[in-house]
């Protein structure tokens, strides 16, 4: 029986982590703009990277 209780705690906490991740990603604005990020990664010099190099 104790095995089940441990499993329960584990499964709910894993689900809670995903919930937290979901809320964080929404709050972070990750769904606001679905065009820029996939394009940005393809540019040779990322804006911030060049800043550091120069």
């Amino acid at each position: 029986m104790s095995a089940i209780v441990i499993l329960l705690i584990a499964s709910i906490s894993v689900a809670a982590i995903f919930l937290a991740a979901f809320i964080w990603s929404v709050r972070n604005g990750q769904y606001d703009d679905d065009f820029s990020p996939p394009q940005r990664i393809l540019f040779d010099n990322k804006p911030s990277a060049t800043n550091n190099n120069e």
Binding site: V5, S11, F22, R27, S36, R40, F43, D44, P47
Partner: protein, 798 residues
């Protein structure tokens, strides 16, 4: 343009337009104008030529230069303070709206702004909103210089009066959080309820307790947080003495939760936490789908987002920028070419040639002499003029329209969805069943009364109706959005299905301002003469000249010497060996023209009158077939701010039953809609300009038509791309299908309800049966609504 003619011409390396002359070059690349070449050289110098390799010819045409001091108003402290979002000793944050952003090249260039201007610390583009957030060092770079930098590479920030007044409301995300929480709790409660369904052995009674109490724990956030929108809306409805669909749903949620809690505490059962959280989750999904918003569009715009932030004030011979709300009667303003007149006034210097097409619907620019009145909202198309302000911005003719009644009752819904009425009947029937079951059990077995009442309320909440409604609406909104009709909300679908009268605006809606039909009458022009006329016309920025240049299409331009433009009258110049003049009858012949119409341009070559070009409104190709289709099904009206010269053509298109009204002022249009509504009509208004704003707001469904969704559109219930006008009738039919689908899926859900109720009235509703019924009905409704709305869309060939 025909494919072949394009190949013969050089295309500009920057913007992809045809180069009129082949002699603007840099590093063997051709450009259409100096502006484009300058942008290229600037990018080349900074090593940003990836801009051109990401997309072919991504640039924006730079042929019309932006006036040098256009952004001088950004030097004003007060204006600056209102625009910037954050500032400290080292840096300032600002967000600009850049309507020109359209591809990944734009993104690349704008986010590399710091390579063009080291004082820029970072630049981030939000592509969906077409906004750029810039952090820059204000000690090294002024805001004005920053705006000018963006303009110099082709992205002129759009700063309107609205930016001064309020900041955009943030995106509302609470519904998404509520959905997330509900989903999490629902899934876990389902999992924890399985042992209960399958039955536990007596030895594991302790485990059962743990499961049940965990369920209670998980149901709490759903009950208190996720279901909040239903309580709120239901309560709001009750306070206004209106029983909407959310009230019985809220009641069912509360009853289910209380009874489940009671069962767990008393140890008599496991409760219905799984069903309750499940239904809340599905209903929230429906809500989220239905409340889809178009971030890049705004349905709430008024004149403030059309008006500029500042104007140029002339005082003691000095020009200073002044923000619009600070303009007072008696001020003298300098209005440059292509600038908007911000307040009513009297023209005191220069010749005004004002394009009112957006404001009043007149299709051709109006000439105003010194001493004549000019109204706010018009655009000066000639050279700079000065006006003496006689009314403040808020008091001007156009802006006063917004204090009309139609704009006051802003937030109240125009109509009530049939879903609420349906749910009301449903609720009454439900209460009757609950009451009669209670009476029956009171005589048979009084211990079961509460059990039965709560079971009936749990099973038969109208959540299925809400589900079918929100899911169908959500899907239809998406289908319409894919076809470039963007609805403000789901209620607009229903309103659109029920209309009886359609009112069209003429200028810009049935006709297009981008194109004009031109007829030539007179002596035949040789190829060379046509070329000469086109070359001369291309020199001027007057709308008629531009239309004329476009009329001749792409032919090689000849050099023009001694070019003169006499504002409001005509243009002349030496092309090759010919002296060409184009202009009004007065200008060419010397006497006032017989017709006195502005839509005629006379042409003389070497002082010999050749003939004249007459300009007609160009109707959209789709206008005639659309009106024909609609005429047999709806009553039609056409309102025009223009003169009645087009009456005959229009009457032919609309049929004889339609009413055509001309010379309509914005307030007249509003009154006309009101009159129709008082006569019991449900009116759909389709318009495009500020002059239609009042009518759009007043009508049951107002659709703003636009050639480019980034442009200004007046407040409306829907925004439609102009090319989709042809599909209007199919859109209406799809909206009508929407209601049928909702009703069909509702009937389906009633079948489930009957099954559930038959258990409930017998007092046999076990959590297991509820747990099977709930997802089964929700999922099948979901399938039916999605499937049938997609089939309907296919049927109407979307």
């Amino acid at each position: 343009m025909a494919e072949a003619s394009v190949h013969n011409h050089l295309l500009c390396f920057h913007c992809g337009e045809v180069c009129p002359t082949g002699n603007i070059t840099a590093e063997d690349k051709h450009f259409c104008c100096e502006g484009c070449k300058m942008v290229y050289q600037l990018l080349n110098k900074s090593g940003l030529c990836d801009y051109y390799s990401l997309n072919d010819k991504p640039g924006l045409n730079q042929r019309i230069p932006v006036r040098k001091d256009k952004f001088a108003f950004l030097g004003d402290e007060a204006i600056q303070r209102k625009l910037i979002t954050f500032s400290n000793d080292q840096q300032t944050h600002i967000t600009f709206y850049l309507p020109q952003v359209h591809c990944s090249s734009c993104l690349y260039l704008l986010e590399n702004l710091h390579r063009l201007q080291p004082a820029v610390i970072s630049a981030t583009v939000n592509f969906t909103r077409k906004e750029i957030s810039i952090i820059y060092d204000h000690n090294k770079l002024s805001l004005q210089k920053l705006a000018e930098l963006l303009t110099s590479i082709g992205y002129e920030p759009y700063i309107s009066l609205q930016n001064l007044q309020n900041h955009k409301p943030g995106v509302k995300r609470s519904l998404i959080y509520q959905l997330g929480v509900a989903g999490f709790c629902f899934a876990n409660i389902m999992l924890l309820s399985f042992p209960e369904y399958l039955g536990l052995e007596a030895a594991e009674i302790l485990l059962q307790g743990i499961f049940r109490w965990l369920n209670v724990l998980l149901a709490l956030p759903v009950f208190f947080y996720s279901a909040w929108p239903f309580y709120e809306s239901g309560w709001k409805g009750l306070r206004h003495k209106f029983l909407n669909i959310d009230a019985p749903i809220a009641l069912a949620i509360i009853v289910t939760f209380s009874r489940s809690l009671y069962e767990v505490i008393s140890g008599t059962g496991a409760g219905y936490f799984d069903s309750m959280t499940g239904i809340v989750f599905f209903m929230l999904v429906g809500r989220v789908l239905q409340d889809k918003t178009y971030q890049q569009l705004s349905f709430e715009r008024d004149f403030t987002s059309y008006f500029p932030v500042a104007a140029t004030l002339v005082k003691d011979g000095k020009e200073t920028p002044v923000s619009l709300p600070d303009i007072k009667a008696g001020d003298t303003l300098l209005i440059h070419s292509n600038e908007l007149i911000p307040a009513d006034g009297i023209c005191t210097r220069g010749k005004a040639c004002i394009d009112y097409s957006f404001v009043t619907g007149e299709s051709l620019p109006v000439n105003k002499e010194m001493g004549e009145m000019v109204y706010a909202g018009g655009k000066q198309t000639g050279s700079a003029i000065e006006i003496l302000v006689i009314k403040e911005v808020a008091q001007s003719y156009l802006t006063r329209l917004w204090s009309a009644d139609a704009f006051k009752k802003n937030n109240e819904p125009k109509s009530i969805s049939f879903v609420h009425l349906l749910s009301r009947y449903f609720t009454y029937i439900l209460f009757t069943i609950a009451a009669s079951a209670a009476v029956y059990w009171a005589f048979t077995d009084s211990s079961k009364v509460w059990n039965v009442i709560t079971a009936v309320l749990i099973v038969a909440c109208p959540c299925a109706l809400l589900l079918s409604n929100t899911f169908t609406n959500g899907n239809i909104l998406r289908i319409l959005g894919r076809n470039k009709l963007y609805m403000r909300n789901a209620q607009a679908i229903e309103d659109m299905a029920g209309i009886t009268h359609i009112v069209f605006d003429k200028t810009g809606t049935l006709t297009t301002t981008a194109q004009q039909e031109i007829d030539y009458k007179g002596l035949t022009l040789s190829k060379h003469q046509q070329q000469a006329i086109a070359s001369l016309a291309a020199q001027s920025s007057h709308p008629l000249s531009r239309a004329l240049a476009a009329y001749f299409g792409i032919i090689k331009r000849l050099p023009v010497e001694e070019f003169h433009e006499i504002p409001g009258r005509g243009i002349e110049g030496m092309v090759g060996d010919d002296w060409i003049s184009l202009g009004s009858h007065q200008f060419i012949v010397g006497t006032p023209g017989s017709a006195g119409r502005a839509g005629e341009v006379y042409v003389a070559i070497d002082d010999k009158l050749y003939g004249h070009f007459s300009f007609h409104n160009h109707y959209r190709e789709s206008a005639a077939p659309l009106l024909k289709t609609l005429a047999s099904r709806y009553r039609l009206s056409v309102l025009s701010g223009d003169n009645p010269t087009e009456r005959k053509t229009l009457q032919q298109m609309t049929g004889n039953d339609a009413s055509l009204l001309f010379n309509q002022q914005p307030a007249d249009k509003l009154q006309y809609i009101k009159k129709l509504q008082n006569g019991g009509e449900r009116v759909m208004m389709i318009g495009d300009g500020l002059n239609d704003a009042g009518a759009l707001k007043q009508s049951n469904v107002g659709i703003a038509l636009t050639d480019d969704c980034n442009n200004f559109t007046p407040a409306s219930d829907a925004i439609m791309e102009a090319g989709q006008l042809r599909n209007l009738y199919r859109f209406i039919r799809l909206c009508r299908a929407n209601k049928q689908i909702v009703i069909a899926s509702f009937i389906l859900s009633i079948l489930y309800n009957i099954v559930g109720l038959s258990f409930a009235v017998q007092g046999l509703l076990s959590p297991m049966i509820a747990a099977i019924l709930m997802p089964a009905s929700s999922l099948s409704i979901l399938l039916v609504t999605f499937g049938s709305s997609n089939i309907a869309a296919k049927l109407f060939r979307f």
